[in-house]
């Protein structure tokens, strides 16, 4: 699963730690999400999408 979390975070001028705190997860979790090593639960995916005021489909993309 690919995602645009890194791009959205950098556009928002946030550090991984700041985003992690906003989402209620650890910095390592944000790092793993950005690097595609960890696929989030549906509630966390909704939380990420809600934080960036967009939809899950706009952030997460299934690998072809």
């Amino acid at each position: 699963m690919r995602n645009d979390i890194r791009r959205l975070r950098e556009e928002a001028g946030l550090s991984q730690a700041a985003l992690a705190e906003a989402l209620g997860v650890s910095r390592q979790t944000v790092n793993s999400l950005e690097n595609g090593r960890y696929d989030p639960s549906l509630p966390l995916a909704f939380a990420v999408a809600g934080y960036f005021r967009t939809t899950i489909e706009e952030i997460f993309h299934v690998d072809a």
């Binding site: 730690a17 209620g24 650890s26 390592q28 960890y38 639960s41 966390l44 909704f46």
Partner: protein, 142 residues
């Protein structure tokens, strides 16, 4: 939010710590009553070492706070998020799988004449090593 903060309070930790001490005492007493003072002494030293280690780890984790930069610290502090829980679950799955295999091998070893208590101790040490190793490995991979 997907990962509500849930920290292990000092009170709950102290209760768990006290229960650990009581368990060590009971185990020691059972060995003494069974006429095995050497085993009782070993259980006392080992038990106190483990509970003391738990106290030190808890203190270190608490000093670093809920944003502790390590899944192991967060697990001990009770501030895990969903990824930490997934890693812990997967690590425990590895422990369970290893336990099946280790018990089978241990049973065969005892049947072939190995000392039973030594085999049990070795299995215990192996399972702890697998838990720590799997946790570290999965933390780096996940």
């Amino acid at each position: 939010m997907s990962t509500p903060e849930r920290s292990l309070s000092d009170g709950r930790f102290l209760v768990a710590f006290a229960c650990g001490l009581v368990a060590v005492g009971i185990l020691c007493l059972v060995f003494v009553l069974a006429g095995q003072p050497d085993t009782a002494a070993g259980a006392l030293v080992g038990g106190l070492a483990v509970t003391g280690l738990a106290l030190v780890v808890r203190w270190r984790a608490k000093r670093r706070g809920p944003t502790a930069d390590g899944g192991f610290s967060r697990t001990l502090l009770g501030t895990t998020d969903e990824r930490d829980k997934a890693i812990l679950t997967a690590s425990l799955a590895w422990v369970g799988l290893t336990a099946f295999l280790a018990n089978a091998i241990g049973l065969a070893a005892v049947a072939l004449g190995a000392d039973g208590s030594t085999v049990i101790g070795a299995i215990e040490a192996l399972l702890i090593a697998v838990l720590v190793g799997a946790f570290v490995w999965l933390s780096r991979r996940t």
